[in-house]
């Protein structure tokens, strides 16, 4: 009798105050400030969509974010400020160029290490130390470089079925890679979530046989994709960044460029507000649109960089 009375009271009693909860959440899921998107406060579990017309820098942003993620915080005394985690990249567009990633990583490593070498030179003014460091630098750069390149995991999918197969087995793959490297996956990148849009839309099937059969169509494929990613985020909290190319041509050519200069980021939930003049037409199904938590419009401004 006493146990029954005690439990409702316990149930009503508060677990923690808002202050302690905020402190807990901020330490368990800290804010990620990735360099190209450092003005957007992101946390794991967020789903970011980068939207832009075809020759805009979406994949470039992904590559820059990947470089920041795979670099360690500190290596051999040089501060890199990276997140020291794995990155998984699903290439649906089949246009990824590994040489760009490699160049950017080398540039970043050399930039940081050169900066620190100059500091040592000024501080110590030791000629021998300088010589030793320059002799050492190619080897320790190489080691760091190959370590970081191995942290970048890549797959390419030529159709939606391969994409679905990848997502279904991703849980097992993430666990395997985490055991192998000893660090967790922090970012899942999907290049061009709308790559198979036309193909899925055209493949509408007549249901044969039993009516409880799911026919692959744009709707069912998108629902399965969202469902799989949602389950994955429960097991392995990660940041999901997806790019999306605008398929339908923008009709507001001059106004587009002016608007993109003003727009920074916008939540997908406020899309219905008429003050936001969207320069493109949304074509992804609503199940994906509601899944996205942050939408970033990317475009060439011509005069200055605007994100």
């Amino acid at each position: 009798m006493e146990e029954v009375v005690a439990s409702p009271r316990e149930w009503i009693d508060r677990n923690e105050s808002a202050k302690t909860m905020l402190a807990r959440v901020l330490t368990a899921r800290p804010l990620l400030l990735l360099p190209p998107l450092h003005r957007v406060p992101l946390r794991v579990g967020n789903v970011v969509e980068l939207v832009g017309t075809s020759p805009s820098a979406k994949t470039h942003i992904l590559i820059q974010a990947a470089v920041s993620c795979v670099l360690p915080k500190e290596w051999n005394g040089v501060h890199y400020g990276g997140l020291d985690r794995l990155v998984m990249f699903i290439d649906l567009d089949c246009r990824f160029d590994i040489l760009r990633l490699s160049k950017m990583l080398k540039h970043r490593i050399n930039g940081e290490s050169n900066g620190s070498l100059k500091k040592i030179d000024q501080e110590h003014m030791d000629f021998d130390l300088w010589n030793n460091d320059t002799k050492k630098s190619p080897t320790y750069d190489e080691e760091l470089y190959s370590l970081c390149m191995r942290r970048f995991l890549f797959i390419r999918c030529y159709d939606s079925f391969q994409f679905l197969a990848t997502l279904k087995t991703l849980n097992y793959r993430i666990r395997k890679e985490q055991e192998l490297h000893g660090i967790s996956v922090h970012i899942l990148m999907i290049d061009s979530i709308g790559a198979f849009h036309w193909i899925d839309r055209a493949s509408t099937f007549m249901p044969l046989g039993a009516t409880n059969r799911k026919t692959p169509s744009l709707q069912t494929v998108s629902e399965t994709v969202v469902q799989e990613i949602r389950k994955l985020l429960l097991l392995h909290p990660m940041l999901v960044i997806a790019t999306k190319a605008t398929i339908f041509g923008d009709r507001y050519s001059m106004e587009t460029k002016r608007n993109l200069g003003k727009l920074d980021t916008s939540n997908s939930r406020s899309m219905s507000s008429t003050s936001l003049q969207l320069p493109y037409r949304e074509y992804m199904p609503s199940v994906w649109q509601t899944f996205v938590t942050h939408r970033v419009l990317v475009g060439a401004s011509g005069l200055e960089f605007s994100l």
Binding site: T53, S54, P55, T59, D93, C94, R95, D97, I98, L99, R100, L101, S102, S146, C148, M149, R150, R151, F152, L153, F154, I155, R156, C157, Y158, D159, F161, Q162, F163, L164, A165, T166, K168, T169, Y172, F196, W198, I199, R201, A202, S203, F205, M206, L208, G209, A210, N212, R213, K214, T215, P216, T220, T224, Q227, K231, A245, T246, I247, F248, G249
Partner: protein
């Protein structure tokens, strides 16, 4: 497309009990998807997954269907299209297992009496699914592949080579955009002659407008070589020309057939050491795709996207240079823009714009889009008659 019972031969754990259990949850077919192409219509394909025991059944079925009609006899494109769609509806082309939630299925399986065996069956199916996608690679492996296999082929034209820092890259789809008579076919023929002669690679030329001219290719070959004995030269010339295969394609379905046949040939490695195919040219892809775009349906765009994916797949997996040409249409304000619309923009890796000064043999080429170069960079080159 194999129903689950075909998988039983290979994996005895997927027995009739498992199949009945799946059937109660709406899963009738196993994970054996055909390519993108046949989801819209089903041509003659070999499934790209290597479970040898079960592979024969689908292949035999498809070959049988092949004999029902002959593509080249059907003149009318629309009739061809409808026939393909009719064929396609007969195949049970549904990826039930990929669309269902397997965790829910496991939960249902636990309620059954034979739950252990059913769960083993589901695990087996998951491992089959794991073999269905491309393998995961890390950055170092990708880099090695790019450095070993994906070399740069020069086009024979110094202006373009300088602009592209060496030439056309293997594994990439390059598009040449230009108004009519801006030199696109000339560049294609020049690249053909250069690859066949200097790089000693095979060339597959898909010609949509009867613009392939063997005489012009011979002119290009003769231009760059030293005058030599006629006899030896004739033999060399024959050897070089033997490496070039030209197909006339006048509609997109024929192009798909030729490309699939090429894929089968490349995969079964029927190449003699000398003429490994290195260059694939489609001149021009816009004349194949433009008639099917529009009309409100999404079939045209889907075929265009499928063509793009197939070309990129061929380029990447078999280390080819793929070159396509596109024409221009009028845009806003009278400025011409490339044809094929917004969806095509994100398909090629590199887009180059060609133009021609009237009356001279000087051509301008500028970069429209490039994975690692700013657009707008331009160069000039000359093609001599």
């Amino acid at each position: 497309m194999a129903p689950l019972k075909y998988l039983e031969q290979e994996y005895p754990i997927l027995d009739s009990n498992f199949q009945n259990f799946c059937a109660t949850h709406g899963i009738f077919s196993g994970p054996f998807p055909p390519s993108n192409f046949s989801r819209i219509y089903s041509p003659i394909l070999t499934p790209s997954f290597t479970f040898l025991g079960v592979r024969f059944a689908p292949i035999l079925l498809l070959f049988w269907r092949c004999s029902l009609f002959d593509c080249s006899e059907l003149k009318d494109t629309r009739r061809k299209h409808m026939k393909f769609r009719a064929l396609h509806k007969k195949t049970e082309d549904q990826e039930d297992l990929l669309l269902h939630d397997l965790h829910v299925l496991v939960a249902f399986a636990e309620q059954q009496s034979t739950s252990e065996r059913l769960k083993q069956g589901i695990t087996q199916v998951l491992s089959i699914i794991d073999g269905q996608h491309q393998p995961w690679l890390n950055g170092m492996e990708l880099l090695e592949d790019a450095q070993l296999n994906k070399h740069v082929l020069s086009t024979g034209c110094e202006g373009i080579d300088l602009l592209l820092e060496g030439g056309l890259r293997m594994g990439q789809l390059t598009e040449l955009v230009g108004a009519s008579s801006s030199g696109k076919t000339q560049v294609c023929l020049l690249a053909t002659s250069n690859v066949a002669k200097k790089h000693m690679g095979g060339v597959v030329y898909l010609d949509t407008g009867n613009s392939f001219s063997p005489q012009r290719v011979i002119d290009f070959i003769r231009q760059n070589s030293d005058p030599a004995i006629d006899q030896a030269k004739h033999r060399i010339l024959q050897k070089v020309m033997n490496r070039i295969l030209c197909h006339s394609v006048f509609d997109i379905f024929t192009m798909f057939d030729v490309l699939h046949q090429l894929e089968v040939n490349l995969r079964s490695q029927m190449q003699k050491g000398d003429c490994q195919v290195r260059l694939l040219i489609v001149d021009s892809i816009s004349s194949l795709v433009t008639p099917i775009l529009g009309g409100g349906g999404s079939q045209g765009h889907a075929l265009m996207a499928s063509a793009g994916f197939l070309l990129k797949k061929l380029a990447h997996e078999h280390n080819l240079v793929v070159l396509v040409t596109n024409h221009t249409v009028g845009g806003e304000g009278g400025i011409s823009k490339p044809a094929l619309g917004e969806s095509w923009k994100s398909i090629p890796h590199v887009r180059l714009r060609l133009s021609h000064d009237q009356g001279s043999s000087i051509y301008n080429v500028s970069v429209f889009k490039h994975p690692s170069m700013v657009s707008g960079k331009a160069a000039r080159f000359t093609i001599y008659d």
